[in-house]
């Protein structure tokens, strides 16, 4: 499995990100970095505690990261949720969380699989 396959599997645009960042190593570095990013957990916690201001900041940050790494699918769900929170529509935002969560875990599992395939 190479990085391109990984991107295809979780719904990202590999050509686009490589075009911008220009080096595969750089893309790989940030994709790995994404595994450690705390914003998804922060988002979930904040939604559970009803801390919507914090939730907005977290999902907004996720959206920004997705833009930079061309995580197309997760970008779409995080963008939709950002807008819902901006409009203070907390119910709509909460309804969107499962989809976002799904898109997020797709990336995480694929990147982990890619990482282990590289190590072998």
């Amino acid at each position: 499995m190479d990085l391109r396959d990984c991107y295809v599997n979780f719904g990202g645009d590999y050509d686009e990100v490589l075009g911008r960042l220009q080096r595969e190593q750089l893309v790989q570095k940030f994709v790995y970095k994404f595994l450690d990013d705390k914003n998804f957990n922060l988002l979930k916690e904040s939604m559970d505690n009803g801390n919507y201001g914090e939730a907005l900041r977290a999902v907004h940050t996720i959206k920004g990261i997705c833009q930079n790494l061309s995580f197309t699918k997760l970008y779409e769900s995080s963008n939709a949720m950002t807008n819902a929170l901006k409009e203070d529509d907390y119910k709509k935002a909460a309804d969107m969380l499962p989809q976002l969560s799904n898109d997020y875990h797709q990336i995480i599992s694929n990147v982990k699989e890619y990482e282990s395939s590289k190590e072998e």
Partner: protein
């Protein structure tokens, strides 16, 4: 070469390190994870940075707050701010620009584009600062040479005259003090600070005609016979003629024009009993009136080959009693009022000799003429910096920022007017934008010349000006506005003789919040706009604070 330093402010560690990866080869990159941290770094080390990359949505202090803070303390004079938020809604981008952001980089980051945007911005900023420095240096150099030439020329005259060499300097100082006091006392004489600087510089040449008077008469120790005195008297007309004989393009220079008036008429007296033309009252230009008084005062208080020096109070008494001829009563009042300063200043000019004085000139660079504005001629660095920030570079009036920061929320304004140039778009379309600029400049100049030193003229937007008046009687307010309208209507621009200009003016009179007065004045202006070239004023009723009546002039 040392790497330029960039500060990245973003709460997302991933975004920061992505930018670091893109930029670190070429730049020295520092990171801050929220607005507060950025401000802390900048408050100590802002001079090190050439650029700030700023996210908007952050904990502690968001990007807008950071921008507002930077703007408030004018830190962005030294570095540019580029916004990097993922939120690219037009409202946010616009707000960032309004708060002083220089540019906006969209996500996702493309390394080539990020590089280009950043290097272009830094080159532009560096160029601008470099150019500013060149202009200031050149201006200083030119100013120094001008003063040097004038001073050499006047010393030639004095050398022949056997005088101390201080007379010219004294007349210069006294003239400036007199005129500055004069415009505080009355607005009868429409002099700007620039005019006063020009007149006092020109005053150095008041006696150049003496070059044609023979030594025997010029330096005769005793009293002159009446024939000798008649010859002596010719020096004023001769001085003026020497200047009038200059080639036409030099003769038209403001300095030469002022010097010419001063040469010819600095021996005229207010009652018409002076020479050479026997002009009376304000037939004598105010420049020559002031120099005449300064000349007499300094002659009395200095030792000459034919007399001893009088003290300040003796000299003042003699002048007030009319022993040296009649002077403009307002100027005489000014002379009395500047007594203390006069004694102090003249003592210092006597102590400070020649070359020391030229060194001292650096502190006296007349930034007013560089960044034409009517406040104070000798500016400290801080004042000068304030002037750059608050002055509209095209017209020399205050800018919108000055209004927003100083007047928006004040409550003790007495009267406000809004002035809008008529058919300004047509001027631009018909004659081009250069002509439009010249038109705006002439209109601004007219407005500045028509108002008092205490009134504030602001270029509010494109072709719109605002004047804030402090304590002004209603009839004077009306006269001023009408005066501005009339003067602009008669304005002619040398380069575009066919160009016609006029303004529509709306005024409001009565105490209140500036913000509210402005609204009323603005709607009055629109009323004037219906027929153009018109003044409309609302007088607020003091009791009910409501608009009682409006009148059209």
């Amino acid at each position: 070469m040392k790497k330029q330093k960039i500060l990245i402010v973003d709460d997302s560690e991933m975004n920061r390190s992505l930018l670091v990866d893109i930029l670190e080869d070429q730049y020295d990159v520092v990171e801050a994870e929220n607005g507060l941290e950025a401000i802390t770094i900048l408050s100590q080390h802002r001079a090190d940075f050439s650029l700030l990359l700023l996210d908007i949505m952050m904990p502690e202090m968001d990007g807008f707050e950071v921008l507002a803070y930077i703007n408030k303390y004018h830190w962005n004079d030294g570095f540019a701010v580029i916004m990097i938020s993922a939120d690219d809604s037009p409202a946010n981008i616009k707000r960032a620009y309004d708060l002083g952001a220089f540019d906006y980089i969209n996500r996702p980051f493309d390394s080539t584009i990020v590089h280009r945007r950043i290097s272009n911005t830094m080159v532009l900023y560096a160029k601008q600062r470099h150019l500013e420095k060149i202009i200031v240096d050149q201006f200083y150099e030119q100013e120094k040479n001008n003063k040097l030439m004038v001073s050499v020329l006047s010393h030639v005259v004095e050398f022949r005259n056997g005088e101390s060499g201080l007379h010219v300097q004294h007349v210069n100082t006294i003239t400036e003090l007199l005129l500055r006091k004069l415009i505080q006392r009355t607005d009868k004489y429409p002099l700007s600070i620039n005019d006063i600087t020009l007149i006092s510089t020109a005053s150095s040449l008041h006696d150049i005609g003496k070059i044609s008077i023979s030594d025997e008469i010029l330096n005769k120790p005793g009293r002159l016979t009446s024939e000798e005195f008649e010859i002596m008297k010719t020096h004023s007309a001769i001085g003026a003629k020497m200047l009038m004989d200059l080639p036409v393009e030099q003769k038209e220079m403001p300095l030469v024009k002022a010097a010419c008036e001063i040469c010819r008429w600095h021996h005229e007296r207010y009652d018409g009993r002076g020479y050479p033309d026997g002009l009376m009252g304000d037939e004598i230009p105010i420049s020559a009136q002031a120099v005449a008084l300064a000349d007499v005062y300094d002659a009395l208080t200095s030792e000459r080959c034919y007399k001893k020096a009088f003290t300040h109070s003796e000299a003042l008494k003699m002048i007030l009693e009319g022993q040296c001829g009649k002077f403009n009563p307002i100027l005489l009042q000014c002379l009395q009022e500047i007594s203390d300063t006069l004694v102090r200043e003249l003592q210092t000019t006597s102590l400070v000799q020649g070359d020391k004085n030229i060194q001292g000139m650096r502190n006296k660079i007349d930034y007013d003429r560089l960044f034409a504005n009517g406040t104070d001629a000798s500016l400290s660095h801080e004042q000068w910096r304030r002037q750059l920030i608050y002055t509209d570079s095209l017209t020399g009036a205050y800018n919108r920022r000055y209004y927003d920061e100083h007047f928006q929320d004040t409550e003790d304004t007495e009267a406000v007017c809004v002035i809008d140039a008529d058919n300004f778009k047509r001027i631009n379309d018909q004659y081009g934008h250069d002509a439009g600029d010249i038109a705006l400049q002439s209109i601004a100049k007219t407005i500045l010349a028509c108002v008092r030193k205490t009134d504030t003229v602001i270029r509010y937007g494109g072709d719109e000006f605002v004047i804030i008046f402090n304590s002004i009687p209603p009839n004077i307010f009306r006269e001023k506005l009408e005066g501005i309208r009339r003067t602009v209507d008669l304005l002619k621009v040398h380069e575009y003789p066919k160009m016609e200009m006029s303004v529509s003016i709306g005024g409001v009179y009565g105490r209140g919040k500036t913000r509210e007065l402005f609204k009323v004045a603005d709607s009055m202006m629109y009323q004037s706009k219906i027929n153009r070239n018109k003044v409309t004023i609302h007088f607020l009723d003091v009791e009910t604070d409501k608009i009682e009546k409006s009148e059209e002039i």
